[in-house]
Symmetry: C2
Subunit: 641 residues, 2 copies
C-alpha cells in the first residue's frame, strides 16, 4: 500500500488535488476564460488566413491580388453563416455535441459518424500542425535548436497535456494571456492602420507598395474560376476551430447555452474583425506574400514600424500558433466522450480524471498527435494538406443537419413542442430564413471540402479520405462489441434457474505439498465435499516424495482425493488442463467447476522473475473456459526481491 | 484452444516434435558428435593462438620470433596440464559441473560463485566474439555487406540458437562437418609441411622467409620477462573452451564419465597437434605476422600453394570461428542449470524444453550476447580485451579445487571411501604427483589471469572485473529469495491449526446488477452465509437504478446484504478496497476473507481494451493482502473483437 500512496502523492503534486464530482459546476468556465480556451484556434488562423488567399491569387499576377479583399469578405460572410448556424446548434442542443449530435438527431447514424471521424482526425492534426508551427517559430529565432525540433514539439505536447490535466479552469487561466495579448496587439495595429488610412489625428498616410512583379496574362474561363475557388478555399482555414464551443457547452457555467452563445458571438466578432481588418489593410497597401516575411509581419511593420508593438505581435503570433493546439484539447476529449456514451468509442473515455477533465481523451490525443509529429518530423508544411479537410466536411454535415431541424421546426404550430432523439424543439419564427442560411452554408462548405480534397489529394489529403472510413469501421466494431456485451449481461427474462448450477467439486492443482498448497486444500475443503488434488509427477523420485509428504499431513488431507499423473514431458500444465477440461465437460456438463490455485506472491514484482509463473499461466488458460471459476489462494513471500 | 494448437504446430515445425523426458538417454551424444559439439571452441583457437604469441614477440624485433616455438611448447604444456586436471575432474565428478562444482565441493561457496560468474561472462563473450569474427570473415570477402554486419551477427546468433533448440544430438550432427573439415584440412597441411621439411618422398624443401624487419635492441631484464609473459598469455587463448566437456558429462551416452574422458583426450590431442604443428612450422619458416594475411593463411599458402586445400582451410577457418559460439551454447545453459539447481539462478533455468535442451539458458545466452554484439557494433577486436580473462580465473579456481581434492584423497587408506558434498572419493595412487600438476596449473593460469587483467585493464578488462562481483551479488540475492520462499512454504512442525481460519464472509464488489454479477452472487451464496454485495454509486440516478434492479431479483438476492457507498470521486476502487480492508483487518482479523469478483472475459484479447479493467485492477490491488482469497467468476462475451 505504501507504493500506492507514493504514486498518489506524485500524481497529486503534478496535477493537483482530486476534485469531488459534485464540484463539477465550480470547475466550469466563465466567459472570459472560455473565450481564451475555445478561441485560440480560430483567432490564431488570422496569422495565416489572409496570406493563404494571396498566395493562391499571385499565380494570376500581382494585379489579381486586388481580389483578396472581395474573397476575404466572402470568407467572412461564410464564417458569419457558420457562426450563426452554430449559435442555433448551441441553443437547440444545450447539452453540447456539435456536428456529431446534430447529424445523429437529424440525419441518422452514418452521417453523424462521418462528421465525428472527420472532426477527430482534424483535432489530432490541429495539435500536430500548431505545435510544429510553434516550434518552427522557435527554430527560426534560434537555428541551433533546429536538430531538436521533434523533441521540442513532443515537449510542447507534454506541456499542453500537463496543463490540461490540471483542469479546464486552470488551463483557461494559464492560456488566456497569449490569446488576449495576440488579439489585442493585432487589433491595435489594425486600428492604427485605419487611423493613418483615414488621415485622422494628423497621422502620416499609409505607404502603398509599388508593385514590381511582372504582369502575367490573366487566366480566363474555368481556370480563372478554379483559381478563385482555390484562393477562397485557402481563406477558409480561418474557419477552423469555430465549432469548438458547440461541443463544449457543458464546460460553461450555467446558464450554459446562453453563456456559450454569447461567447460564440464575441469570438466570431473578434476573429472576423481581425480577419477583415488584416485583409483590408494588406490589400489596400498592395502587400505581396513572400517566403521570407509573413503578410501579417509586413503589415505590422508598415503601420507601426519596428517598435515595441511590432515585437509584441510577432512574439504572440508564435505563442498563439502553439496554443491553437489547446482548442483541440477541449474538443477531442469531449467529442470522444459523446461517442463513448453512444458506445462508439471505448466506454472508459467517458471517465473523468481527478480534475474532472476527460483524462483518457487527453492522453489519447497527446499520444496520437505525438506519433504524427514524429512521422512528419515536426514539419507542419507537410501536414497542412491533411488539415482543414475534416472541419469542412463536418461543417457541411452539421449545417445539413440544422437545415433538416429547421424544416422540422417549420412544421410545428405555435406553442407546440416536439421531442427529437436528443432534444426538445419548440415553435419559432423565421425558420425558413434560417433554413436558407443553413442551405447556403452547407453547400459552400461542402464545395470547399471538394476543392481541398481535389487540389491536395496527391499531397496527402488522400490519407484523410482513407482514415475517415477506417475510423467509422472502428466505431462500428466497438459498437457491435458493446452490443454483444449487453446481450450477454442482459437480465431480461432472467430466472434464477438460468444461472449455471455449481458442481460440488473442487480441483486443486499443486506442484508439491507445502504450506501454500496445504492452505489451498484447507480452503477447498470448506467449499465442497469432493476435493481433488492433482499433481503432475515427472519422475518416480518426485512422486515418492509427494506421497510421503501427503501422508504426513493426513489431518489436513483426509477425505481429499490425491490424483497423480505420471508425465514424461515438461509442459506440466497440459495434463492438468486436460483433466480439468474433462471434469468440467464430461463429469459435470453445464455446471460450474471450481479450481483452487495456490499462488506465491513475492513482495516485490522483480521476485516474480524467479518463479516460473505456473499459477499465472494456468489461470490464463482456464480463463478461456466458460464454466470454470478460479479461486486464488495466495501465500505471500516476504523478501527483499 | 484453437490458438494454442496453431502455436504448438508452428513450434513443432520450427524445433521438432517434443521428446519424452525418458528419451533423454537416446538424445545423448556419441563421441564423434560430442567432439564436434564441444571442440569447436578449442579447435578454432588454432586459427589465431600462434599468431597471438608472435604479434607480442614482434615488439622485440624479428629475431625474437624464434621464441615462438618454446613459448608455444610452454602453452601446450599448460594445456596438457589443464586437460589432465579436467580429466581428473570428469572422473571424480561424473555428474558434471566443472569448475563450479569442483570449487563448491573443495573450496566453498564463494570461490565456486567466482568461478561460475567468470565462466558465464566468458561464455557470453565467446558467442559475441566468435560470431563477430565469423561476420568479419564474410564482410572481408563481400565488403558491400559491411554496413549490415550487426544484422548479420544477430542473424547468425538466431541461426545457432535455432539449431541448438532442436536438440543437442541434432546440433551435433549439423555442426560436426565444419569442425572436422577444419581440423582435417589443417592436419593435412601440417603433415605436408612436415613431409616437405623432412625431404621425404622427394618433396621440395619448405621455403624459409628472408627476414626484412629492422633489428631492434632486445629488451632486457624485467621488460623482457614482461613481454614474454604477455606473449605467453596471448598464446593461452588456445585454452578457451577446454573446460566445456567437464560441464557436459551428462550430455554423453553412458558410460558418461568414460566417454567424456576419452573425448577430452582426443580433443586435447587434436587441438595440441594442430597448435604445436602450426607453431613449429611458422617458426621454422620464419613467418612474420601481418595485418593483411593471417599466419595460418601464410603457412598454408607456403606449404600447399593456392590450391584446393588452401581454399578449403580458409573457408573452414571462417566457419569454425562462427561455430566456436556453439561450444558456449553447450556450456552456458548447463552451468546455469547447476546454478539454478543450487538456487543461485532462477529455478526455471533447470527446465528442459521440448527437445530436452535447457531452452531458457539458450534464450538467455542468445539475448545477452546479441545485446553485446549491438553495444560493440559487432567489432570483435573491441571485445577481445574482455575475453579469456574469465576462463583463466575459472581454470585457476578449478585446479586449486582439484589440488584440495587430491590432498583429501591422499589421506585415504587403500579401500577407504569418503563422501564429499557432491561426490564419492576412493583411495588412489600417485595422488601427490597429480596434486603437484594441479598446483603448477593453478599458479600458471592465475598468473595468466593477472597478466591479462593488467595489460588489458584499460581496454575493457575492467568491465569483466566489475561484472563478476555484480553477478555474485545477483546469485546471492536470488539465493536469499529462494531461502525465504522455502521458509514461507516450509511444513516443518506445521499443524492444521497453524493455517489461517476462513472467515464466514464473502464480499462481492459489483458495478451493476446484471447477469454477470448475479452469477457471482449465486456463487458467493454457496460459499458463506454472510454475503455482502458492495457497490459504489457516483450519482443518485445510478443508485436508484441499482436498487430497482436489486429488488427485481429478490429470489437471487434474498438474505444477501447490499452495501452501497455514495462516492463523489471517480476512483471507485478506493472505497471498495477500503471496505474490504476493514472487514479483513477489523471484523475478521487473522482470518481469510473471501472476495468474489465477477469478471467479463471477451473472446479476443483486443476486446479487453474496451473495458476499463476494473476487475483486473481490483484483483491486482487485493493480491497485496495476505489473507484475502480472490474468486474470479467469469462471464464470457462472445464477440468478434
Amino acid at each position: 500500500m505504501q507504493k500506492n500512496t507514493v504514486l498518489a502523492n506524485i500524481k497529486e503534486f503534478l496535477i493537483g488535488k482530486p476534485f469531488p464530482t459534485s464540484m463539477d459546476v465550480h470547475e466550469r468556465l466563465d466567459k472570459v476564460r472560455a473565450l481564451a480556451v475555445f478561441a485560440s484556434d480560430p483567432i490564431s488562423s488570422n496569422a495565416y488566413a489572409t496570406e493563404a488567399i494571396m498566395s493562391v491569387l499571385i499565380v494570376l499576377g500581382s494585379q489579381a491580388l486586388h481580389l483578396t479583399l472581395p474573397l476575404g469578405l466572402a470568407v467572412a460572410g461564410l464564417v458569419l453563416m457558420v457562426i450563426f448556424s452554430y449559435i442555433q446548434t448551441i441553443l437547440h442542443y444545450p447539452d453540447g455535441g456539435g456536428a456529431y449530435t446534430v447529424a445523429k438527431d437529424n440525419l441518422g447514424k452514418f452521417p453523424s459518424l462521418i462528421a465525428a471521424a472527420a472532426l477527430l482526425t482534424d483535432y489530432i492534426l490541429t495539435v500536430s500542425v500548431s505545435v510544429s508551427a510553434g516550434v518552427r517559430a522557435v527554430t527560426s529565432a534560434f537555428p541551433e535548436v533546429f536538430p531538436y525540433r521533434i523533441e521540442l514539439a513532443i515537449f510542447a505536447i507534454f506541456f499542453i497535456t500537463w496543463v490540461n490535466l490540471r483542469g479546464v479552469r486552470e488551463s483557461g487561466a494559464i492560456f488566456a494571456v497569449p490569446t488576449y495579448a495576440f488579439a489585442g496587439g493585432v487589433l491595435v495595429t489594425i486600428a492604427a492602420g485605419l487611423v493613418r488610412n483615414a488621415g485622422l489625428f494628423g497621422a502620416a498616410p499609409l505607404p502603398v507598395l509599388e508593385q514590381h512583379l511582372p504582369a502575367t496574362n490573366p487566366a480566363e474561363g474555368f481556370l480563372f474560376i478554379w483559381v478563385l475557388l482555390r484562393a477562397f478555399a485557402g481563406g477558409c482555414t480561418a474557419l477552423t476551430g469555430i465549432e469548438a464551443i458547440s461541443n463544449g457547452v457543458q464546460a460553461f457555467k450555467p446558464p450554459e447555452a446562453k453563456n456559450a452563445a454569447i461567447t460564440m458571438v464575441v469570438m466570431g466578432s473578434m476573429a472576423m474583425s481581425l480577419f477583415v481588418g488584416i485583409t483590408y489593410l494588406s490589400t489596400h497597401m498592395s502587400l505581396i506574400p513572400n517566403e521570407a516575411e509573413s503578410v501579417l509581419s509586413q503589415m505590422t511593420r508598415a503601420i507601426v514600424g519596428r517598435n515595441f508593438l511590432y515585437y509584441w505581435v510577432q512574439i504572440f503570433t508564435a505563442t498563439i500558433l502553439f496554443l491553437a493546439a489547446n482548442t483541440a484539447y477541449q474538443d477531442f476529449p469531449r467529442l470522444s466522450f459523446f461517442l463513448a456514451r453512444d458506445n462508439f468509442m471505448p466506454r472508459w473515455m467517458q471517465t473523468r480524471g481527478d480534475r474532472l477533465v476527460f483524462s483518457y481523451g487527453i492522453f489519447v490525443l497527446a499520444l496520437i498527435s505525438s506519433v504524427i509529429v514524429i512521422i512528419f518530423q515536426a514539419d507542419e508544411i507537410a501536414m497542412l494538406p491533411l488539415y482543414a479537410l475534416g472541419v469542412m466536411l463536418s461543417f457541411s454535415i452539421s449545417q445539413s443537419g440544422m437545415f433538416r431541424l429547421m424544416g422540422r421546426i417549420a412544421h410545428l404550430k405555435p406553442g407546440q413542442t416536439l421531442r427529437t432523439l436528443v432534444t426538445e424543439i419548440h415553435y419559432e419564427r423565421g425558420v425558413r430564413w434560417k433554413q436558407a442560411m443553413n442551405a447556403v452554408g452547407a453547400t459552400v462548405t461542402f464545395l470547399v471540402f471538394i476543392v481541398l480534397a481535389v487540389t491536395k489529394f496527391h499531397d496527402g489529403a488522400w490519407i484523410v479520405i482513407l482514415i475517415i472510413p477506417l475510423l467509422i469501421l472502428m466505431f462500428h466494431s466497438i459498437n457491435q462489441h458493446y452490443h454483444r456485451v449487453s446481450v450477454a449481461l442482459s437480465t431480461k427474462g432472467l430466472e434464477p434457474k438460468d444461472l449455471s448450477a455449481i458442481a460440488n467439486v473442487v480441483i486443486v492443482p499443486v506442484a508439491d505439498v507445502h504450506r501454500g498448497s496445504l492452505r489451498a486444500i484447507t480452503y477447498a475443503r470448506r467449499f465442497a465435499k469432493d476435493v481433488r488434488v492433482i499433481c503432475v509427477t515427472t519422475s518416480p523420485e518426485v512422486k515418492e516424495r509427494l506421497l510421503r509428504r501427503w501422508k504426513r499431513f493426513s489431518k489436513i488431507t483426509r477425505r481429499v482425493k490425491l490424483i497423480t499423473i505420471d508425465y514424461d514431458y515438461r509442459d506440466v500444465l497440459t495434463p492438468v488442463v486436460e483433466y480439468i477440461e474433462q471434469v468440467n465437460n464430461i463429469e459435470f456438463p453445464d455446471q460450474i467447476t471450481t479450481v483452487v490455485i495456490p499462488a506465491f506472491i513475492p513482495t516485490y514484482t522483480i521476485g516474480r522473475f524467479l518463479h516460473n509463473q505456473t499459477a499465472r499461466r494456468l489461470r490464463d488458460q482456464l480463463r478461456n473456459y466458460k464454466d470454470i471459476v478460479i479461486i486464488d489462494v495466495p501465500i505471500h513471500i516476504d523478501s527483499k526481491i
